[in-house]
């Protein structure tokens, strides 16, 4: 977490400086009010506080060994999965998944890539039903949720159902 905090702090400081620079470029005079009526006033203050937060995070990650030790020693009050319970209740539902797909970063990246492809490449370029069908069937197939025929059937049924329920019944605009 120390390393992550350092990089998070750096990103925050850089973002805050970008916001500060953009705030200072907004009109501060001739707004009809004094300088405190400027649209850049509040964002500049917020950017200042954000950069302070980021600097604090960076400094802590460099010098706060005791803090990270105490953090590691304190149980997360918002977690409830006792290891033995998790093992008891969690079973392997996807035995056909190959070994390379058990890598967490890879699974995360694959999810982002598939969702990104749907949002940026399929939606708006193809009609709603084919675009959603391709995404759903592809996603299920890639993650070995079902074989090719079943993925296709689920993809077709789900995309037509969404279109029918939301476009025909709820009269909602679809992409």
């Amino acid at each position: 977490m120390r390393k992550k905090d350092f990089w998070s702090g750096l990103v925050l400081v850089l973002s805050a400086l970008a916001f500060l620079a953009a705030s200072l470029r907004l009109p501060w005079r001739d707004t009809g009010y004094d300088w405190f009526g400027s649209p850049g006033f509040v964002p500049a203050i917020l950017a200042g506080f954000l950069s302070l937060g980021g600097i604090r995070l960076m400094l802590r990650s460099r010098a706060g060994g005791a803090f990270y030790d105490s953090l590691a020693a304190t149980p997360d009050p918002c977690a409830c999965d006792a290891p033995e319970d998790a093992a008891e209740s969690a079973g392997e539902r996807e035995p056909a998944v190959p070994a390379w797909m058990r890598s967490e970063p890879l699974r995360g990246a694959l999810t982002v890539a598939l969702c990104g492809a749907y949002v940026f490449l399929l939606m708006g370029r193809l009609p709603y039903i084919p675009a959603t069908f391709l995404f759903l069937a592809g996603f299920i197939l890639v993650f070995r949720g079902a074989g090719l025929p079943r993925s296709g059937v689920i993809g077709a049924a789900a995309s037509v159902s969404i279109w029918f329920v939301f476009y025909k019944i709820f009269a909602v605009f679809l992409p």
Binding site: K4, P39, V42, L50, A86, S89, A90, R107, S159
Partner: protein, 500 residues
């Protein structure tokens, strides 16, 4: 609000269409809540876009029923899988799952259902009593108080949602405040941080931001785990004897009060309420050793508090236009979308609206209890759907929900980008709730701060001298100091001296 007003509003809701909407939306909420990875916020945000064409009252019925159902529904997966369906049910795992492992899954579900129903009823009673009272206080708020209130909300929300490292909670709040500044400023309509992009002139829309941060972030997180979940517990008797509940009346009452108070604090929400109620119940219990090993009292405390919190979270929404929790923030946005203006003037502009909301709560509590007790086995079947099938369908629905509000692909892209941001925030222990709260309170903070400065000609002293502002600053200071190692050490040494 008189009882007769409440009941007349309740009976006015008793049309077949409204009852149908309340039941399907509660059922939808229960399913959303019980599926790990889908949260109450996401469920309400999704339906906000999808009920855009509904009449305002019917949209409120759908959204409130979904909210109530989702907070309750999460207890199912907590009991059966030891995975909380929503963060609000994390404390339920501790005693709910050991009960299921002892073969008392049905009994635990029944206990959770009745506790949730009692909690929701407690919340709605407080909503009916305290909303008009808080509304009367809110009428005394000026720009100074509204600004200090937004700072107070961010600080306390950051503090409670990141209990181990509040600095990250506060940073997330400031990020939300900064992101809300994108678009035309509210006083002079000067574009800020828009880079000449027309789509950014109106600012970043709330629904895509919420759906992205809570929904898409969660989808990535769930899909990342290499192992799926499965149900192994057997469900038998469901309805718990009344005597079992009466035995814990003190715990129920205490947890209800905690739930409502935590709910009314801006942005904090049901998860914190259930943890605090659980911890308090353990401290006051005659059998604290049973907690974590299948204690009925622990399960009742957690489930009563998280559902009582729903009513509590709506109180500041209606009276101050400040959300008490993340799903309440979506509800606030939905009210704005439907032309309802929550805030101090609501009782004047729409005198019956608070009674209508309370009546909707009553209807959704009935729907939740009926569906919760009647559909135990069919709902367990839902948990057997594989996440590899469920998650892409949920993502497709997230896209529909984000697109539906403004009909812009830009909002879908925004949702996706906020999903990635939300995912990285989780991985780095930054809570999403303060960011979302900051995003909602940002325009209020900016507008009121500058307005106050313009009124006083640049004098900042009224921010620190007006009585209500002083109270809010003192509370904020107490929250910040409570996290200081120096103050905690001093308090600990004081306690040690007293014990001697």
């Amino acid at each position: 609000m008189s009882l007769s007003t409440l009941f007349s509003e309740f009976f006015a809701l008793m049309t077949p269409g409204t009852i149908f909407n309340a039941f399907w939306a509660t059922g939808f909420g229960i399913i959303v809540g019980m599926l790990p990875g889908l949260t109450a916020t996401m469920g309400v945000a999704l339906l906000t876009g999808l009920t855009f064409r509904f009449m305002p009252e019917q949209a409120m019925v759908v959204l409130i029923s979904t909210y109530v159902g989702a907070i309750y529904g999460g207890s199912r997966s907590a009991i059966l899988l030891n995975i909380p369906g929503t963060p609000a049910n994390a404390a339920t795992c501790l005693d709910g799952h050991p009960l299921a492992r002892r073969g008392e899954a049905g009994y635990a579900i029944g206990l959770a259902t009745t506790s949730s129903a009692i909690g929701t009823l407690f919340g709605l009673v407080c909503l009916a009593i305290f909303s008009p009272l808080l509304g009367a206080i809110a009428l005394k708020f000026g720009s100074w108080e509204f600004f200090v209130l937004s700072i107070f909300g961010i600080i306390i929300c950051g503090n409670l949602t990141a209990p181990r490292d509040p600095l990250k909670g506060w940073i997330a709040g400031i990020v939300g405040l900064l992101l809300s500044q994108v678009g035309q400023d509210p006083i002079q309509a000067i574009p800020r941080f828009t880079f000449g992009e027309l789509q950014l002139m109106g600012g970043l829309s709330l629904i895509p931001v919420l759906v992205g941060a809570y929904g898409v972030g969660e989808i990535i997180e769930v899909m990342q785990r290499p192992i799926d979940y499965t149900v192994r517990s057997v469900v038998r008797r469901v309805i718990p004897p009344l005597a079992d509940l009466l035995r814990y009346w003190k715990t129920i009452l205490r947890s209800g009060v905690i739930g409502v108070i935590i709910g009314a604090i801006p942005g904090v929400g049901e998860d914190t309420a259930s943890w605090i109620a659980y911890d308090t119940a353990k401290r006051f219990s005659d059998h604290p050793e049973e907690f974590g090993r299948g204690s009925h009292e622990g399960l009742i405390a957690a489930e009563t508090a998280n559902n009582a919190c729903v009513g509590g979270a709506i109180i500041p929404v209606l009276t101050l236009a400040v959300p008490g929790s993340a799903p309440a923030a979506v509800l606030l946005a939905a009210m704005w979308l439907h032309g309802i203006r929550p805030g101090p003037l609501l009782p004047i502009e729409q005198p019956l609206f608070i009674a209508t909301v309370t009546a909707i709560f009553l209807l959704s509590t009935i729907a939740m209890t009926v569906l919760g007790l009647a559909l135990v086995r069919p709902l367990v079947k839902v948990l057997q759907i594989s996440r590899t099938i469920l998650m892409p369908v949920v993502f497709a629905l997230c896209c529909v929900g984000s697109f539906a509000v403004s009909g812009r692909m830009f909002d879908v892209h925004l949702m996706f980008l906020f999903g990635i941001l939300g995912y990285f925030m989780r991985r780095n222990d930054f809570p999403a709730a303060p960011m979302v709260l900051g995003f909602i309170l940002g325009p209020m903070a900016d507008d009121n701060f500058r307005r106050a400065m313009i009124i006083t000609g640049g004098d900042i002293t009224p921010f620190f001298t007006r009585p209500l502002s002083v109270v809010l600053w003192l509370l904020t200071l107490a929250v910040v100091l409570s996290r200081s190692a120096l103050v905690r050490g001093w308090l600990a040494s004081l306690a040690r001296r007293r014990s001697r």
